[in-house]
Symmetry: C2
Subunit: 326 residues, 2 copies
């Protein structure tokens, strides 16, 4: 009933009377009154005026399905949202749900991750109620080797969403970080479950540091948050919705060609690697050079000191001036 | 206690007295006697002679961990075996266990699959107690693009194991079938869970038709069993152990080079595609030609009617004379 009352309050242009709510839901006035009080306790600011009724002044930044669906303008991405107070990691939870059949576009989100993960099982700090910890389940009809590009698609969506909502100068650090002021503000972790030539599902994990006030000393030089950079508290809901909406647009464009052809120009505009001195450390090679571009297949092209162009598909990329690399 | 008594009976060269068993396990003679009777009900043939004790004459073809571990000579593959009476599919179960942390070499096996799966979610018939329905969990330190070769590694192991145990002329139909007399006797389904450049785990599913007496009419021309071909009942345990042992050897060889360099000669010897007229149907192309070889990267090389060699990495391959393709 709580969700339905939130919906009615959200939909009402102006005041909505307790009587109207109680009729609409077929419950007593007292029941409505109790829920309204409960919502106030949760942080909803609800004005009540005699003979007019209730009016929703503001909602708290709670990440439940109802709050997230409200104002979300997508067709597929987020058509189902599963929210938790606390999970080990949203990617882990999304993989389990996908194994059980969760469909394309399902979003798994949590107020807190107790064992958030970055690449290769690295720890990812995800304190409660201050960040966006979410995973999108996708079931694209693509070849497995093309799935890694979805990290770049999601990165572009997050970067654009942060720019739009906060006006901060966010950039993409290829392949899976978003940075502001040379520090990490978002990390992406794409995981795939596939057969040889068939993708069962992809999980795109997105972690955004939103209202984190400060980081522990060991992370302070590497990580930042929207709040630290923008000097204000941001509504996570708005960033989530914007990210999902933009992601849906780019995801469609990606599916048309099964690569980045339609969005690579925008990607390169947002990519902080371009033109920078980098060092690449991977299993197969270590090399230094200057980044030329990201290709429509998602590879990084680096011009080495001999002037030769080298194609990088994976590995750790350190950029001079970013994350303390000098 | 049942497992421990089976172990003692298996280990005893000759008779072992009830007293010895009861001392060894710290239980009463009556308790031992009860378990012995229970085992006889399950199909264990146990001789008992006054003043000598018990002797195991023969074991039923039950696929529990104890029976499978006994006589299994591997280091890693099958070091943990998880057996079920019935599961939806062993691959599905293995993927869940792997998500929860199951280690390299864990084998998941079931007497029956209620929703056995072939490639792309196709149905796989797996009646109770007559087949080998198992999945091997692997955690190789390889690049995701090299994981598909594990299907070929497993195929070679199954083919060799069937040849050794049954003397039937089994062959590999690239990439994921084993055939006898032009009909399918085994199917493989490799699934992977990965990040962009990191493999979380691989599940190699193996389904072998062992003692299936007959197939439904719609499968009759496509599928066969070891029993049909060899006119006898085979002990599944022996085939499982042999398969896991040979797989371990080839798997090691694969890991040394992260491709098939060390085993491709043997593979091509076993591969029924070689020299045959085939038709390939994939998302990107349809072509006919004669198969030249499988490469050390696991690709199929086909010489087309114009004499050009074409490299195939995936798709449905129909071989003239096999599975009713004329």
């Amino acid at each position: 009933m709580k969700e339905k009352i939130i919906e009615l309050l959200n939909r009402a242009d102006d005041y909505i009377s307790g009587e109207e709510i109680s009729k609409h839901l077929g419950v007593s006035r007292t029941a409505v009154w109790k829920v309204i009080n409960h919502l106030r306790e949760e942080g909803y600011e609800i004005e009540s005026v005699t003979r007019k009724g209730y009016r929703l002044v503001s909602s708290p930044d709670i990440l439940n399905e109802e709050e997230l669906h409200y104002n979300l303008n997508t067709n597929v991405i987020g058509n189902k949202i599963i929210s938790y107070d606390s999970v080990d990691s949203t990617n882990q939870q999304a993989k389990k749900l996908a194994l059980e059949g969760a469909g394309e576009g399902t979003v798994v989100i949590a107020e807190e991750q107790t064992a958030g993960k970055g690449r290769r099982g690295k720890n990812w700090v995800s304190p409660p109620k201050t960040g966006i910890w979410m995973s999108i389940i996708l079931r694209p009809d693509i070849m497995p080797e093309n799935a890694s590009m979805l990290t770049l698609v999601a990165g572009l969506a997050v970067c654009k969403a942060i720019r739009e909502i906060t006006s901060l100068e966010a950039s993409i650090k290829w392949p899976n970080d978003i940075v502001v002021s040379g520090k990490k503000i978002c990390g992406l972790l794409t995981e795939m479950n596939s057969e040889i030539d068939y993708v069962n599902f992809v999980v795109v994990g997105i972690g955004i540091n939103v209202n984190i006030e400060e980081f522990p000393p060991e992370l302070d030089k590497m990580a930042t948050s929207l709040m630290i950079e923008g000097n204000q508290i941001y509504k996570r809901k708005r960033i989530i919705n914007k990210t999902l909406e933009i992601f849906e647009v780019y995801y469609k464009k990606y599916l048309e060609t099964e690569d980045l052809t339609n969005i690579i120009a925008e990607y390169n505009e947002c990519c902080i690697n371009i033109g920078r001195n980098v060092k690449v450390t991977s299993r197969s090679q270590n090399l230094k050079g200057i980044v030329k571009e990201v290709t429509r297949k998602g590879e990084l092209i680096i011009t080495d000191p001999q002037g030769e162009d080298i194609e990088i598909t994976s590995g750790e990329v350190s950029i001079r001036g970013i994350y303390g690399y000098v």
